[in-house]
Amino acid sequence: MPVDFTYAVGRTRVLETRLLDKDRIERMIAAANADEALRVLAETAYGPIASQINADEYEIMLNARLKETYELVRHISPTPAVADILALKYDFHNLKVLLKDRYLKQYDDDILVKLGTVDIEKLKSYMQEDDFKGMPDVLRDAIIEAQAAFEVSRDPQDIDMALDKAHYEAVYAIADDMHSDFVKELFRRQADMINIRTFVRVKAMGKDSRFLAKALLPGGYLDEAFFIELVDQTLGALIERLRFTHYDGLVDGIAEFERTERLTAYEKLMDDELLSYIRDNRSDPFGPAAIIGYLWALENETRIVRIIMVGKINHMPSDAIRQRVREVY
């Protein structure tokens, strides 16, 4: 019998109501300055921290909120997998930092993120002692692979790319264990959308198909051959091909890139499309969709708050901020 998420879904239904709504976000955008934007958060779940910090310390607040939510979700879910599948990106982030630290012979501990599935102190000691036995298999295999890639090329980009690939493989493995079509589909779509973005970026950098193949994530619906075939064609060709896929909604973003050479619009569309896919599937009261959806929505919300705070601190006009702010759940 599949794992029963009924209780956790019940709780997340209430938790969802405490996410920031459109009105509040609009009030933040309309605020005269960063301090005032922060004050809008006072009566929300961010309140306890928001009232104690300065506007430029918003990262502390966002990290605390994420940490608290990950802990809560782990606590109420029958399986940690729902949180792990999203938290893995932090583990892989930490691996990237530690691996680069090792090659640079420096220690930038303050950019490690404490939200991963493996405690960062443990990760650090594994790396320092060069003993990966205690690490989860996926992380261990990933790190060995990334090391091998780097030793050949001495290119730090290879570390990131190898770990990114391993990250998605690990995500699919968890999704398979969950037996949830929604979860599998979600991450495959995300991989596709990232791959489309990677394709556009690689093309703009003028790199060849060999490099592209290295940069693409595995497991999407659009396979490597799809992109390789398009390398020598214009972005218009990509747009034409995407019109017949799920990703029809993203073509405006690519067209915008052709005009402005900025991926701002695409990245917003990408986040919005994924969120709307989750929103369409969150009604399942027994499966993991609502819980993953809630975590996803919270991460989305921290992105929104970050965009607004960065914008406000740097005196970006409200309209420019509004253009970039993501949809809410």
Binding site: K100, Q157, R201, E261, R262, R303, R324
Partner: protein, 213 residues
């Protein structure tokens, strides 16, 4: 105008006349130098202004891109992305002599193999905004270095011009008038001495004639 405190002797006069000649020649030379420095300085200032405007525009654009990347990525992920740079700039500053002014000359060499990408991060968790930030910053670095060089040169030249101008002024308004004054004083003094000697001699001659009579 103050005159110098000297003995009004003929030797002193010769010395002062020599000094005056040198001062006048020095003054002309200094004036030429000042004009030439000014000319170069004007050219450099124009170049400096152009470069500064260009760099400022581009830097604003680049920082705007960084800002956008910053807005859509968490602090940690952004820093991880750029923590391991693949390009190194070796900068070598030499001093060269420009009209007897020591000015810097910045030589730079980009280090890093061509098949290692300029972007030191993976694409899955980084924003596309970061690419344009990196590309722009990479593009303007040579301009920024040149700007640094030109700006320092301008500064040094300005100092030198100021110094030269002070010297020219000192020569023109103090040294030369002072010398001229002193020379005139000594000449007058000597003339007077001569006249008094003459008078004395005439007087002596008169007295001798009276005694002989």
């Amino acid at each position: 105008m103050a005159q110098m405190n000297v003995n009004p002797t003929r030797m002193e006069l010769t010395r002062l006349k020599g000094q005056l000649a040198t001062a006048v020649r020095g003054h002309d030379l200094m004036k030429d130098k000042r004009d030439e420095l000014m000319r170069r300085f004007m050219d450099l200032i124009k170049k400096n202004k152009e470069l500064r405007e260009k760099v400022e525009v581009e830097l604003t654009e680049a920082l705007h891109s960084v800002l956008l990347a910053r807005a859509v990525m968490s602090k940690e992920m952004l820093e991880e992305a750029v923590m391991y740079p693949t390009r190194r700039m070796d900068i070598n500053i030499e001093m060269v002599n420009l009209m007897s002014v020591e000015v810097p000359s910045i030589q730079y060499k980009e280090d890093g193999s061509a098949d290692v990408s300029m972007y030191p991060y993976g694409f899955a968790n980084t924003s596309g905004e970061l690419d344009s930030a990196i590309a722009r910053l990479h593009e303007i670095l040579p301009d920024m270095l040149e700007l640094a060089q030109v700006e320092k040169t301008c500064q040094r030249l300005a100092d030198e011009i100021e110094r030269t101008r002070r010297r020219v002024n000192a020569l023109e308004y103090i040294m030369i008038p002072q010398l001229e004054e002193t020379i005139r004083y000594i000449t007058m003094k000597l003339d007077e001495n001569e006249r008094s000697t003459l008078t004395r001699l005439m007087k002596v001659k008169e007295m001798l004639q009276e005694r002989n009579l």
